[in-house]
Subunit: 555 residues, 2 copies
């Protein structure tokens, strides 16, 4: 088979066999929404579970589950209310909404870096055709927030809320519960597998750009002063393809990339390694994985470093994972918005003594003089240098000016001994787009070959994430072969974690083909000999080899 | 400890230890939303997985995953747009919204059975106090739809949608994909574990009435003509508490209840048995489970039978599972709304022959006479009895009347042989409220005792769903005991499905107490002897017994 039309044949098969189907299709469908069907549903669960298992190995990571509906205040603090938007324009002829940058892809090298007015000028200049109706008449460009909004509560007491654009915020707001759980010792992490939402202006590319998606994120909290001593030796024989800032591509080990300071934090490097392990474990071809560093202007202003894992498939190279060193941005934002403390404590090796030599207020005189503002005055006076001369005009936080006379103050000389300090932890965040990964697992596993001159398709899925572990066939549905096959099938189904499928119709060759198409690793056939000696034929998907065995030995 | 205050102590502990925490608390919180924290998150995953495993044992059930955002048309077809509402009133003093029936609980035996105007009359008559401000001045009563609404897509091209109130609809609309997957043979089922949403007017009772909840549903499609031959013998020694319609309580086996026709379908009975098994498996006290049949007037009009599994706990008896025989209502509703077919085929034992003796059109004359409407005329003429006399005034589906002359028709006599027929399957639906079940698992496991004269709490959780399998302690964090304890811990963490927790601070007694409080079944201590001979002490949560073993033998 040629590559031409492969994507169409693959998506047709996925639909026909129940891997992935456009959602709500009998009701006319809805762009950007997919169902994981009778085959795909189990595969999704298994890949989620493998992801959790990989990170649980760290030994200091726990799983959370937070609501998807999120109040306005939380996403205002995180910056999503203000920043999470795309530039939109609408066709004046048919009303269809489009992303302005997408329309201009052939007219500018990097349209998504343009500002609103630049996009608008270029759009009205170029007049691209509407993808829906072909007209060339566009509205002005406006920023469209990409969060789905809703209202929490009924009637006038309803409060604005959104569907979360990422799972991360619930983990930041849970910081204090995590800190307590880990007995106040960093580093530690929280992870969450669940739905994320993005009200795309114009979804496209199947599973790559969905409005409701499965994501998996880990927020790993670290002390920014801790040594960069992550052990990277287990990847010393696994050079990875790294495209560092400035577009230099190299095949390099993680240790080497850290030594060269291409990767700026050893935990980022370690998480790139774990990401690579996970992707290969679920079946991604390691030759089609690369890590690309964000350019400075592509990175959020607070980010220290960010690497994407990109996977190559039918849509080219697609970003599937982002591993970002986010500094203290997230915890600090929630602290500032709420006035609550989200900090960890660092003990000094030796207690530290600070000598204070300055001024403070004389309560007996300053109290009556400044009344309710005495506390504010005290705080401001204690910040003044020793050299200050009184009377002194002091500007308070609210802007008021008070005159502090010599009799209001006295010398303040003392030493303060501190055994440690509170600080804002930094966060390293690996964020995985599970749907995109599932898509590429399928894309890499899908094999189009020939058998007896006919096209033949096979899914070479990794046994750790196959949707169905065993297919059980009676050679014929008679003479007790069907009963025995059903017994073998039922026994497999009673084994936790094992999925078996019974198939009694069509020729055995046709049933093998159906099982191969969805990647079943082992097919079990009950035949005449089974009725005599209790053995069954087991046929291996990849080698095609068959052998007889006792069905008790299978699961 | 007395029972008094137990609920407050339990919820305080759940929060402190990271089982369940009110969500978004640093931002002021949001009623009806909970976080599963560092301990509860894993427990939730495990209970979900146990649920899937129990139903997978049936051998003909698959897992799906459908979007939570659902277009208007789908939920209009299901009846939720029209019917899914509570009666609301607002306090005219403070604006707080309340459920009218809840306000009238002490003034009527069954206020949730009242109609809108009855509620309104009673409300204005009784004038209950506002739970928020105490005023007694209520607005009129209105039906408030309980779905969270949103808009899919940007700008004017946005379409109305809702967050799903149940997972079920995605499984009904997937019927044809399921039918194909199961090689067109009923019975089969689809199940889904995921979020459901209900914009409660006034959430209360902690985890019992949430706005965003975890649910697990199975839609099991059956042929209504298939024999009622489910095997119930495995429950013949397990009498269940059944409260049948009319409030008669009996302790009875499922077989007996089917024989007496208290339970109207053997598959409903089997699913009640599986539900009982699941609940006991995850740790619900079997003495605190009962099954209550819906009264005729409590049941949806289309339902054939419905049994709730109720669990007794701190909030009294609470409905946690509903097992409903829904007839063909759901598939039929989607058929009617979409014009698409959602049917299964039943083959007859013997082909059936139908003799036709009537009329059809004569194409040569009727074609030119009726033009585009000839097809409609043909269909209507074929429905006329043999005795019809022509000319005949025929009323077409659209209301038009045409006159059919004798020359437009000819006799139609033939026999049609059919080998089977298409029919609407019936559905049996077990629907589980996972949060309510988790709440009761915790409630039943929570034990308040004393140790050395001090209050002592213990979670006697079933090992199959504990949040943490092992706690590993170094006796002291020095002399290499900490290193060895970390090695033991790391090795356990690398075992898929196992969660271990390292705890190095405080006395060993204190650490045992902390582990007991969250239900860790086994605590492992590394002490001086461990450094010499490599063995560790393993202490059992329930018996308190300790023995020494090689850590390799643990997982």
């Amino acid at each position: 088979m040629t590559q031409e039309g492969r994507l169409e044949r693959l998506t047709g098969m996925l639909r026909r066999r129940g891997f992935l189907l456009p959602a709500f299709e009998i009701h006319g469908g809805a762009k950007g929404f997919y169902d994981f069907g009778p085959v795909g549903g189990r595969m999704r669960s298994r890949i989620n579970q493998r992801w959790l298992d990989h990170w649980l190995e760290l030994g200091n990571v726990v799983e959370l589950s937070c609501p998807t509906i999120t109040p306005f205040a939380v996403l205002e603090a995180s910056g999503h209310v203000g920043e999470f938007s795309d530039f939109m324009t609408q066709c004046n002829a048919c009303g269809e909404a489009s992303r302005a940058d997408t329309l201009l892809e052939n007219h500018h090298p990097n349209p998504d870096a343009l500002k609103r007015d630049e996009l608008e000028t270029l759009l009205h200049d170029v007049k691209p055709s509407c993808p829906a109706c072909g007209a060339q008449n566009w509205s002005d460009v406006s920023a469209q927030n990409l969060m789905f909004n809703t209202s929490i509560g009924a009637g006038d007491s309803g409060r604005p809320g959104f569907l979360r654009p990422e799972t991360a915020q619930g983990m930041f707001t849970s910081f204090n519960a995590l800190f307590r759980h880990f007995r106040e010792r960093l580093p530690f992490g929280a992870m969450q597998v669940g739905k994320g939402y993005r009200n795309e202006i114009a979804p496209r590319q199947g599973m790559i750009r969905l409005r409701e998606f499965n994501m998996a994120e880990l927020e790993y909290f670290i002390d920014p002063e801790a040594p960069l001593d992550d052990d990277l030796s287990s990847w010393d024989s696994v050079p990875l393809t790294l495209i560092s800032e400035g577009n230099e591509t190299a095949s390099m080990t993680l240790s080497a990339a850290c030594k060269k300071e291409l990767i700026r934090h050893s935990t980022v490097a370690r998480f790139m390694g774990i990401t690579h392990n996970f992707l290969v474990d679920v079946g991604i071809d390691p030759k089609r994985i690369r890590f690309r560093q964000h350019e400075q202007d592509e990175m959020a202003h607070y980010a220290v470093d960010c690497w994407d894992a990109e996977i190559e498939g039918s849509y080219g190279w697609v970003e599937c994972v982002g591993i970002a060193h986010r500094g203290c941005y997230d915890l600090q934002s929630h602290e500032e918005a709420t006035g609550k403390t989200l900090r960890a404590r660092r003990e000094f090796d030796e207690p530290r003594t600070t000598e204070i030599d300055g001024w403070t207020i004389n309560g007996a005189t300053a109290g009556p003089a400044f009344k309710a503002r005495a506390g504010q005055v005290k705080e401001a006076v204690e910040d003044l240098p020793k050299s200050t001369a009184f009377p002194y005009e002091l500007t308070l936080a609210g802007g008021d000016v008070v005159v502090v006379e010599p009799e209001h103050v006295k010398a303040n000389r003392k030493s303060i001994k501190e055994t440690g300090e509170w600080y804002l932890p930094h966060v390293i965040e690996p964020a995985f787009g599970i749907d995109r990964i599932i898509w590429h697992v399928i894309d890499h596993a899908y094999q189009e070959t020939e058998k007896n001159g006919e096209p033949y398709t096979m899914m070479g899925l990794s046994p750790s994430i196959v949707p169905v572990d065993f297919a059980v066939f009676p050679l014929f549905e008679k003479d007790g072969m069907d009963d025995m096959a059903r017994q073998v099938h039922q026994k497999l189904c009673r084994t936790a974690g094992v999925v078996s499928m019974y198939d009694g119709t069509g020729s055995i060759g046709r049933r093998y083909a159906r099982a191969d198409e969805i990647g079943v690793p082992l097919c079990i056939t009950v035949d005449h000999q089974s009725l005599e000696d209790g053995t069954v034929t087991v046929r291996n998907r990849d080698s095609g080899e068959q052998h007889r065995t006792n069905p008790e030995s299978l699961a």
